[in-house]
């Protein structure tokens, strides 16, 4: 919200320079995001006079103008059709920053330089309203009043001597959406009082109540409705001072009636609405809920369908406004309007908010009502509008207000304990100090016992509900920077045993294995969600179709990263991500929070070359078993050596050649190669291998305690055995047979060679193992080892139909 320094000065003696005021208000919690000193606006813009105009020799639409800017004559090329000899015009001098460029689609500002246009020099620019940032008119130059003084700085010509503050109003402070509210804050800051303008009305003899009536049918949502009737209003433009004030804070002047209601709304924070009295059937106002499905055309010309949740203002026959949000076309003020019914009401904040959201409308009125307005402001605001319209539009003000206020609001009284304040803040203020801060904020208070202060909450402070709210008021008045910083003497370690996250252990291992950590979007498009299968959770209100579902797996996100890196030629990738995936538990829709399944997973991905091209290193692509090896190493680090791989025959939507990984019989995840069709979808040419594991299951089986095993005293004995088996016999079967028969001293089995070919014969393959025995009691003799080897060979023959090729 914009606040004008000059306007603000009507209500409070500011006494602080703009920068100082901005800084101090911010430190009080009323954030000033920007200070705009208008006096510094239009730097290098002056009033000029066109003293000569010629046609451009090389361009039909351009004119060569000689412009007197006071100190000198400038030759300026102008393309506007309306430029004429003798005009007073706004001129931008070389070096000026043009606020809006009308040749740029975004209207970005630019700095003016001398240019040659079709061979003719131009040393300045005659500006349009749009280019000056003063309005939308870009069709021609802005022609100034003939009385404008040549050479005068443009800001001075426009009477721009004000300073504007852009305020960031927090959601709790509706009162700050008005000059009164801000003035009150400035007054508290400078320890003065703000003053409301005194209203002087000349009412006619006719009673307002005799020409109109108001009925509230929904008292909960409309606790107060006040109205006045004005007759004989001359609709026309509002006076220049009012227009200029409205414009300065970004409001477009419309006519004197609408402008006055806006002006008073900005001043008091009370939204007002003016109805054309003669369009109101029965000259009646009825406040009631809309009929379900009722249609209504709001002032912006849109027809809207309503629900019974929306509070409406109606006349005797039909709806005329959406309460607190926007008026209707059917009762709008027009040039023909002569009689006006003014509404000044108080609506329930959440009712207005619901209606505004339903209609997708956020108006100056709804924003104020949503935050809560001052219920005691309705009459003052009405009188103020009436006074202004009497003065500027010759209105006859009828006698008295209609004021329907069925249940007068009682003032809230809150206790603030000095001891409590000091406990929460860690300070030692006295009761007197606290009272003085509260007084500065126009919060009347009295002592209630030694400790407590009883505070009467005025109706303009809807945000104060409880003691803690008052504690904050006092704290911010005292200044946060004046509160000492302290630390507890002793650092208290949590009594709960620190639960170390498995992620913290996984990350360094993955990084050490050459994997780069990625973080991808949890939200994916429908096609990706469908591709990945599973019951993806859909977002009701996605920001775009690209992000309409929650990911059910980390794989597509990582494939997108692969594609992205492909696009600049990086094809050798090792990536990992730790992140949450989501799905609907069971089948169908989400019935409750319990049907949302969320779990954290670790994804590992490998693709491209195993190593970058390097001298004396053989180049090869990574394969399935490279990733499998990484996974085995990773699992063994968590003492999860019980992890075993089981070939997976169930359908997996994204990958094939799948292995499921189980630990102690519990499924942890899947290892596989991405299907060709999926690779195509992501425009990836190389094979991609992925493994996705549930970190939750890993953590459950994670053996964190370690027990030391004494180092063996006897040397290891190694034997190499090569078996010939049928090509369909899995290696795992042979290895298992070795383990089964190797006895307790068998320590390690390593497959070091696999091959097929003429040497092994048709339908056979050779598997060569290095087998390690670790004696525990004595050194093994050759004979001991031979005996063990015989046992192994026998078992492998029996179990796998193998023959020994060599040993």
């Amino acid at each position: 919200m914009l606040i004008s320094h000059q306007w603000l000065s009507d209500y409070v003696d500011v006494r602080l320079g703009p920068q100082k005021l901005a800084e101090e208000l911010s430190m009080l919690g009323l954030e000033v995001a920007k200070v705009e000193d208008q006096r510094k606006r239009f730097k290098d813009f002056v009033v000029g006079e066109v003293v000569e105009k010629q046609k451009h020799p090389n361009a039909d639409r351009l004119s060569i103008c000689t412009v007197n800017v006071g100190k000198e004559m400038l030759q300026i090329i102008c393309g506007a059709p309306n430029v004429e000899f003798g005009q007073k015009v706004p001129v931008a001098l070389v070096g000026a920053t043009i606020p809006q460029n009308q040749h740029d689609p975004e209207g970005c500002p630019f700095v003016l330089t001398p240019v040659k246009i079709r061979g003719v020099e131009s040393k300045g620019m005659i500006c349009s309203e749009y280019e000056l940032g003063l309005g939308d008119d870009a069709d021609g130059i802005l022609v100034l009043d003939s009385s404008a003084k040549v050479g005068m700085p443009l800001a001075k010509h426009f009477g721009q001597t004000d300073v504007l503050y852009e305020l960031e109003i927090t959601a709790n402070r509706g009162d700050w959406l008005s000059y009164f509210g801000v003035a009150r804050e400035v007054a508290a800051l400078t320890n003065r009082r703000m003053h409301k303008p005194k209203v002087r009305l000349r009412e006619s003899a006719t009673q307002t109540a005799s020409v109109a009536n108001v009925k509230i049918l929904d008292r909960a949502r409309c606790p107060r409705y006040s109205a006045r009737v004005l007759r004989g209003v001359r609709v026309g433009p509002s006076p220049e001072w009012m227009q200029s004030r409205l414009r300065s804070v970004g409001l477009r002047p419309i006519n004197n009636i609408v402008d006055t209601t806006n002006y008073v709304m900005l001043e008091t924070g009370q939204p007002l609405h003016a109805f054309d009295y003669d369009t109101l059937a029965g000259h009646a106002i009825v406040v009631k809920t809309a009929a379900e499905g009722e249609t209504f055309t709001t002032l912006d010309g849109n027809e809207r369908t309503l629900t019974s949740d929306v509070l409406m203002i109606c006349d005797a026959e039909r709806s005329v406004a959406v309460a607190g949000v926007m008026g209707g076309m059917n009762s709008e003020i027009s040039d023909a309007t002569t009689n006006v019914l003014l509404e000044s009401a108080c609506f329930n904040p959440s009712a207005v908010r619901r209606a505004a959201r339903l209609l997708g409308l956020s108006t100056d009125a709804s924003q104020r009502f949503e935050r809560g307005t001052d219920i005691d402001m309705t009459i003052y605001a009405l009188d103020r509008v009436a006074e202004l319209l009497q003065n500027i539009a010759g209105a006859e003000v009828l006698k008295g207000c209609i004021d329907v206020y069925p249940k007068k609001r009682k003032l809230l009284k809150l206790k603030l304990r000095t001891s409590r304040f000091n406990e929460i803040l860690g300070m030692s203020l006295t009761q007197a100090q606290i009272k003085s801060y509260l007084n500065r904020l126009e919060l009347q208070c009295s002592s209630s016992g030694k400790d407590a202060v009883l505070v009467v909450i005025p109706t303009f402070r809807n945000d104060l509900h409880a003691e803690i709210d008052l504690i904050e008021e006092v704290a911010r008045m005292h200044g946060y920077d004046n509160i000492e910083t302290a630390l507890r003497g002793e650092v208290q370690f949590s009594t709960e045993s620190a639960s170390v996250s498995i992620d913290d252990e996984l990350r360094p291992l993955c990084i050490g294995a050459g994997f780069h950590e990625i973080l991808t979007n949890s939200l994916v498009d429908g096609r990706t969600a469908a591709l990945a299968g599973g019951n993806a959770i859909q977002i009701l209100n996605p920001v775009s179709v690209d992000m309409a579902f929650l990911r059910t797996t980390l794989i597509p996100g990582a494939l997108q990263v692969v594609r992205r890196n492909y696009s600049y030629g990086q094809k050798d990738l090792r990536l990992f991500e730790i992140g949450n995936v989501f799905r609907v538990e069971g089948a169908g829709t989400i019935r409750s929070f319990d049907s949302v399944h969320q779990e954290e997973r670790l994804l590992l991905l490998m693709t491209g070359n195993l190593m970058p091209p390097l001298y004396s290193v053989e180049q090869r692509k990574v394969d399935f078993f490279d990733l499998k090896g990484v996974v085995v190493s990773l699992l063994s680090k968590f003492s999860l050596d019980k992890g075993c791989f089981i070939s997976y025959d169930r359908h997996s939507p994204l990958s094939e050649r799948n292995l499921s990984i189980e630990i102690n019989g519990t499924y942890v995840g899947l290892l596989g190669s991405i299907k060709k069709s999926v690779l195509q979808h992501f425009e990836i040419e190389e094979d991609v291998f992925v493994c996705e594991l549930s970190t939750h299951v890993l953590k459950k089986h994670w053996k964190r305690e370690r027990t030391f095993r004494p180092l063996p005293r006897f040397p290891v004995v190694v034997r190499d055995l090569a078996f010939s088996v049928g090509t369909t016999v899995p290696q795992a079967a042979v290895e298992q047979a070795i383990w089964e028969s190797g006895g307790p001293m068998l320590a390690k089995v390593t497959l070091f060679d696999v091959f097929t070919g003429a040497q092994v014969g048709e339908g056979k393959k050779s598997l060569a193992y290095s087998i390690e025995f670790q004696p525990t009691k004595r050194t093994l003799t050759v004979h001991d080892v031979d005996m063990l080897v015989v046992q192994i060979v026998e078992q492998v023959k029996r179990a796998c139909g193998a023959t020994l090729r060599s040993s």
Partner: protein, 336 residues
């Protein structure tokens, strides 16, 4: 033959003595001790020696080999001791073969740095679900239904009551529900906002949140803790200020600013000429929030604070586009 052995020995010793650098020494090694050196040739000739002489000649040859090897080593050591380069003339400028190491994502790195500072201060880590209920995300945190404060956080909904959490604060309630005071936790995690994606904002980002509830916790301690953090994280010379603001779940609430670490407060592009950077939001836990957690606000009090990780990482590393974090371009990731 024995003569030949003696000759070789003398020649070897004199050549060895003459070797003054690594290259010369290597030449001696190649000439005498290598696989096809003089000594090997002598051993080769052993098979032509009559059987009767074999033991004598064999012994002499073995003695020569032992001596030669020993003297060679002695000479080599002597040269090393005297500082003469002894390695052979290989090209040491060949590049090393790199061990491909991965990288930690800058967001993770930032979270870990912040977390560890608070861990030293006695905070433990807590986490919570990313899909949340309206109750935990809003209502229990003192956002009444239909309150404009909800506009502060544009929300993705899954159903009317289930949503993607907009902040890490719901975990505050979840922790309080399962634990009695004192509670001192730090809560990192991913959050979601229904906003257009741009260089400045994204639908996903990360926060880290802190909560401390105990008897007699004060605003003064909140300041103390956050100032200690800022000095640790941004440097001990950092200046700071606390500004009143509004959050539904804390009161009094404060935004913390630090002097811009790039310009030192003079004003620059990063701090938008203000000289100050807003780094976190904080405040005393609102009594209604303590009640939601099952605590009695008359007997315990607490503070909470939260910061956006992306913003902090962007400031720290000078990153000007938040989207870079989630594009995972290796040229970006490998810088961390």
């Amino acid at each position: 033959m024995l003569e030949q052995i003696e000759q070789t020995k003398q020649q070897f010793l004199s050549d060895l003595d003459a070797a003054e650098d690594a290259a010369a020494l290597e030449r001696v090694r190649v000439a005498y001790l290598a696989r096809k050196g003089y000594l090997a040739q002598l051993f080769d000739e052993l098979k032509n020696v009559p059987v009767a002489e074999k033991p004598t000649i064999g012994k002499a040859l073995n003695e020569l080999r032992t001596l030669a090897t020993r003297r060679f080593e002695e000479r080599k050591q002597a040269l090393i001791q005297s500082g003469v380069e002894t390695t052979s003339a290989e090209d040491l400028t060949l590049p090393g073969r790199p061990l491909p190491l991965g990288t930690k994502h800058p967001i993770t790195r930032t979270i870990e740095e912040i977390r560890s500072i608070f861990t030293w201060m006695g905070f433990t880590v807590a986490t919570g679900p990313e899909v949340e209920t309206d109750y935990y995300n809003f209502e229990s945190l003192n956002f009444p239904p239909d309150h404009p404060a909800r506009d502060m956080q544009d929300t993705f909904f899954i159903t009317k009551d289930i949503l993607l959490r907009t902040h890490t604060s719901p975990v505050q309630i979840r922790v309080m529900e399962r634990q009695n005071p004192p509670v001192r936790v730090i809560i990192p995690g991913r959050v979601f906002r229904n906003e257009a994606v741009s260089a400045r904002s994204h639908v996903i980002f990360h926060q880290i949140e802190g909560l401390y509830v105990d008897t007699g916790v004060t605003f003064s301690e909140l300041k103390g803790t956050l100032v200690s953090f800022a000095k640790q994280f941004y440097g001990s010379g950092v200046k700071y200020k606390f500004r009143p603001t509004f959050f539904p779940f804390t009161e009094p609430s404060a935004d913390m600013y630090i002097s811009c670490f790039l310009c030192g407060g003079k004003g620059c592009r990063v701090c938008k000429q203000a000289g100050w950077l807003e780094i976190l939001g904080s405040g005393m836990v609102h009594p209604n929030v303590l009640r939601s957690g099952g605590y009695n606000p008359e007997t315990v009090s607490g503070y909470a604070f939260g910061m956006g990780i992306e913003r902090i990482a962007m400031l720290r590393y000078g990153i000007d586009d938040i989207r870079l974090f989630f594009e995972n371009d290796l040229r970006f990731l490998s810088q961390f």
